[in-house]
């Protein structure tokens, strides 16, 4: 699992992907909040589900790659 955080002189791709995805997802949430006429509670729930799915996919991909 060390390769998740650090590998061969650079950040592990798992940690890197999680960071990038989380930051972009946060900014995307802000954009949706401003543009969509939707209750904040519902939007928060949707975005949280989306984030969990995204993170799950990254972790699953990392697991499949066997890094």
């Amino acid at each position: 699992m060390n390769a998740f955080w650090w590998t061969y002189g650079h950040l592990g791709w798992g940690f890197f992907a999680l960071s990038v995805f989380t930051a972009i997802w946060w900014l995307f949430f802000d954009l949706c909040w401003r543009l969509l006429a939707i209750r904040i509670g519902r939007l928060l729930a949707l975005m949280a589900v989306g984030w969990v799915i995204g993170i799950g996919c990254i972790l699953f991909g990392f697991y499949l790659a066997g890094w």
Binding site: H10, V20, A23, W26, D30
Partner: protein, 229 residues
């Protein structure tokens, strides 16, 4: 090492974006502001905050002071004098008051509704409405507004445009003079951060504009074409 540098650059860019987001929250970050519609780009709460502080973002002022060309429809119909939402069309003492409410994002240059001659330009301060019509519906929520009133003589009779603003903003520019001949759709003035324009019409004219309609200065017909007197 090269990969590490690339990764750190990407993470730094994202960290910068998040920092900007945090600095500007709850208002939009400059990174996304350009892509938002005007009322989301500069939310009302932010504009009211600027009003209190007396300072505005230059990009908002540039947007606010826009003065696009307008193409009046042919004929002699009466046009809306301002961009905004028609909030009432009350009849009182033989005069129809068509009230147009301007939002912060509406274009604020006013245009002549008719071709004719400017009879007079009344320019009064906060006492203008005292004893005259403070009870008018369009003024109920406005405390001592500052007004200018431009009266036109036209084929349709005497028609006036009131430009009303609040004591906080209290700046109205009028670009026409007494006796000047104007054409339909000609620019007549501008309210700076103002809020209401009222078109006063003879009651004999039939309005085509509806309450709740969004009208455009110099383009939207508010009274259909009539035969010349």
């Amino acid at each position: 090492m090269f990969l590490l540098i690339i990764q750190l650059i990407i993470l730094s860019v994202l960290a910068g974006a998040l920092t900007l987001w945090g600095c500007y929250f709850p208002y939009p970050s400059p990174l996304i502001r350009w892509g938002l519609p005007p009322n989301k780009r500069w939310p009302e709460a932010q504009i009211r905050h600027w009003l209190e502080m007396g300072g505005f973002q230059q990009a908002f002022l540039n947007y606010f002071y826009r003065d696009p060309e307008r193409a009046p429809p042919p004929g002699n119909s009466i046009l809306a004098p301002a961009d905004g939402l028609v909030t009432s069309a009350a009849l009182r003492d033989g005069v129809r008051y068509l009230v147009i409410a301007l939002s912060f994002w509406d274009m604020h240059v006013q245009r002549s509704p008719v071709s004719g001659t400017v009879i007079k330009v009344e320019s009064k301060g906060k006492d203008f409405m005292d004893g005259e019509g403070r009870e008018f519906a369009f003024l109920r929520e406005k405390y001592c507004p500052v007004q200018k009133r431009v009266v036109f003589s036209s084929d349709s009779g005497e028609i006036a445009v009131r430009l009303i603003t609040s004591l906080a903003a209290r700046r109205i520019e009028i670009w026409v003079k007494d006796g000047e001949t104007v054409t339909r759709g000609q620019r007549i003035g501008r309210i700076l951060l103002g809020s209401t324009v009222v078109l006063e019409l003879p009651e004999t004219l039939n309005l085509s504009a509806l309450v709740g309609e969004h009208v455009k200065a110099g383009e939207t017909v508010v009274v259909e074409e009539m035969s010349s007197a």
